[in-house]
């Protein structure tokens, strides 16, 4: 065995980044991001508008050179991927622009030739289901239709790694549910690894196995979705008890009446911080949406 000419092995994380920083002008958008996806996982990336989700995704798949840090795809440096690794990935940007002069059908026929596992039948069915006229030129489609065609392209290639930037934006509720179903079943049955960004929290709660919350250039709450709901809660303390608030909380808001809301995390022994057990204190379970609002609001 030659250690230098190591081939792609299944042991390599489909997607990994380490120490990623990037920025535009003076502002840092990404400030030291470490992230790794295991095979078959579905990572939902969430964050406010302008938090840098697209920048992070583009850096992860090698379409952008970060200021510092490295990204790997199936163990290869993302900025120098082999054709073999490229054939295993499908990436759908928020605004696809390539091959605008072709019709949807022509584009899918053309692109399909490059993928060994291309599913032409699926492509045809989905064009119909998602209401795309196959003979219209891509450049004449609305941005939403354009992204739908690109999602079909990505799914029909049967990739091992699927990367979607805000896929829900272009879809009505029925089509969105179709897409979520595809993501969920492919991850669960074919072992497809999926990274998708979204601002629709309920989509993430349905299909994601893991979440990462991009906030102020850092990833917060990087953990399995179920853990998030069980590990974090909102602690409310009335004004006269606010001095008992634990430090190191993720989010803290003082209300007009002097009472305090904090996001608290279970300790290693499964208990909430001491203040939660004081008389008058209240602990509320949080859905993900509330959790994000508490932290980012």
């Amino acid at each position: 065995m030659n250690a230098v000419l190591r081939s792609i092995s299944d042991d390599d994380a489909p997607l990994a980044v380490q120490g990623l920083t990037h920025g535009y002008g003076d502002g840092a958008v990404l400030n030291g991001i470490d992230l790794s996806l295991s095979p078959g996982s579905v990572l939902g990336l969430i964050g406010r508008n302008g938090a840098g989700k697209s920048t992070l995704i583009r850096a992860m798949v090698g379409l952008l050179k970060p200021h510092t840090g490295t990204a790997w795809v199936f163990g290869e440096p993302a900025l120098a991927l082999s054709d073999r690794a490229k054939a295993r990935i499908a990436y759908v940007p928020q605004q696809p622009e390539a091959l605008a002069w072709l019709t949807s059908q022509q584009m899918l026929d053309y692109v399909g030739r490059f993928y060994p596992a291309w599913d032409a039948r699926f492509a045809k069915d989905m064009l119909h289901a998602w209401d795309i006229q196959p003979n219209r030129v891509l450049g004449k489609l609305s941005p939403g239709e354009r992204q739908r065609v690109d999602l079909i392209r990505a799914l029909a290639s049967q990739p091992q790694l699927l990367v979607l930037d805000e896929p829900a934006a272009a879809l009505d509720p029925v089509a969105r549910r179709d897409l979520l179903r595809e993501i969920a079943l492919r991850a669960g049955e074919a072992g497809t690894t999926v990274l998708f960004s979204t601002h629709i929290v309920s989509d993430l709660e349905r299909v994601a196995s893991d979440i990462a919350f991009l906030h102020n250039g850092k990833l917060l709450l990087q953990c399995p979705v179920d853990d998030t709901k069980e590990r974090f809660a909102r602690l409310w303390l009335p004004a006269h008890m606010s001095a008992a608030a634990p430090s190191n909380t993720l989010g803290q808001r003082r209300h007009a009446d002097g009472s305090l809301s904090l996001v608290v995390e279970r300790q290693a022994d499964g208990r909430w911080p001491e203040a939660a057990y004081l008389p008058g204190a209240r602990v509320d379970a949080l859905g993900l949406e509330d959790l994000f609002v508490e932290i980012a609001g």
């Binding site: 579905v42 549910r177 979520l180 179903r181 969920a184 079943l185 991850a187 669960g188 049955e189 929290v201 309920s202 709660e205 349905r206 299909v207 994601a208 196995s209 979705v225 179920d226 709901k229 069980e230 379970a285 949080l286 859905g287 993900l288 949406e289 509330d290």
Partner: protein, 123 residues
């Protein structure tokens, strides 16, 4: 068969296990009844199949379900169709505690609350 609320603070796998407990205790599911496959549940609700597997696995560990070779998951034979009244009461405990807490926060005396609850139960 399941009512899934992704936005609930209760994780989806817990929602499924909880509903199985109720349906078995309440007799809507009896011993030997086959459950829909993981794929069917995941596909229908567009949820991650691993979540459904986890729920079924937990229910199996609890003795609610058993794996039948080649057929999938079924309600365990050892589960009595109708749990005792005390067991069924236990399932209602979290909701009763929540109700009691809300009533106290609103500083409501217990009589009108109990009267209203009684009327709801008679419907």
């Amino acid at each position: 068969m399941f009512a899934i609320q992704p936005t609930s603070a209760e994780p989806i796998y817990r929602q499924i296990v909880e509903q199985l407990r109720r349906m078995i205790a309440g007799g809507q599911l009896s011993a030997g009844d086959l459950l829909p496959s993981v794929r069917d549940v995941a596909g229908f609700h567009a949820i991650n199949p691993m979540t459904v597997s986890r729920a079924y696995g937990m229910a199996e560990t609890e003795g609610l379900l058993e794996r039948l070779r080649g057929k999938g998951m079924a309600v365990a034979a050892t589960t009595r169709g109708n749990a005792t009244q005390a067991q069924r009461m236990t399932l209602l405990e979290p909701q009763l505690q929540a109700l009691a807490r809300h009533a106290q926060e609103l500083e409501l005396p217990s009589d009108p609350v109990l009267r209203r609850l009684g009327r709801l139960l008679e419907d």
